[in-house]
Symmetry: C2
Subunit: 156 residues, 2 copies
DNA sequence: TATTGTTATACTCTATAACTATA
DNA sequence: TATAGTTATAGAGTATAACAATA
């Protein structure tokens, strides 16, 4: 019994019913993400990893911008960035034009750590994909752009 | 450039290449799970929510079994269960045959809370699915059993 | 005076070590 | 003596409030 009833616009069979697709996709996406996360131990705390990832994705940022992006209070970012700096994963550069401001960027070591984690996850996931049949892999490949669309990855 | 090269067994085009599918699926699954998590605020800490979910999924458990399942130290479970009990989401029942042991189970309120969270996520996700074209929804539906297979949901 | 970031402090979460009750 | 769980205590992590430096 789907938690969200099918709308009048769908008109599919039970398996393509929006409510059914919703609940199944919610469960498998959550589960897959958890399995992936389990492959990616970094020695960093969740906030440290999240901040490092954001810095890499967005490029050099001020501490304030980073705090806002991480939805975290300014003192927490001070702390997180200090830890990342201690580990040599990010560097701070004081802003020349406004000396209150500091920008943080990933170091080569920081980028390498993130890349290594992604690779470890990819190795695990590729092995799981290897266990699928050709037909299954094709159906999965055919749905990838739908997942991109769903998560906004088609318009970054 | 995919992090994991295509194997000799695939022979697909670039879009169905295992390395490409791997990286794209990793990113979109992670992203979808994060978006879902953002819809599901419960007022519980991550460990409390995780423990409550495990108790619901597995049925009544001893504290020790729960600690092991959550990969957490025994004193942490004592604490987590105490908080959940304070909120009326779980109950403890002392074991009749071994009075050192206590079992925990979800209350009706605990089950209702979990259900409400799932429903909130489903409402959000169903709205996103509603933005897809019929063709996209069909391709997604056709890949659901693959995701189940991938995450072990086909053999629970 | 407003803004950026830090320091001071308190609270939550989780761990290890020592303990209690039961087997 | 061994086991299930709790209490004592310490170390992260993050928040609010007060502060310092700069604009």
């Amino acid at each position: 019994m789907p938690s969200v009833p099918a709308t009048a616009t769908t008109g599919g069979t039970d398996a393509t019913d929006v409510g059914t697709v919703t609940a199944r996709l919610r469960v498998s996406a959550t589960r897959l993400a958890r399995l992936l996360r389990r492959q990616g131990d970094t020695g960093l705390s969740p906030s440290q990893l999240s901040a490092l990832t954001s810095i890499e994705n967005h490029g050099p940022m001020t501490l304030g911008a980073l705090a806002e992006h991480e939805r975290v209070a300014p003192p927490s970012i001070t702390n997180v960035v200090a830890k990342l700096e201690d580990k040599g994963l990010v560097t701070r550069s004081p802003c020349a034009s406004d000396r209150r401001v500091a920008h943080v960027s990933t170091t080569a070591a920081g980028a390498a750590l993130l890349d290594e984690v992604r690779q470890r996850k990819d190795v695990w996931l590729a092995a799981r994909l290897g266990e699928l049949s050709d037909d299954e892999r094709e159906r999965l490949a055919a749905a990838l752009d739908v997942l991109d669309h769903l998560t906004g990855l088609d318009r970054p």
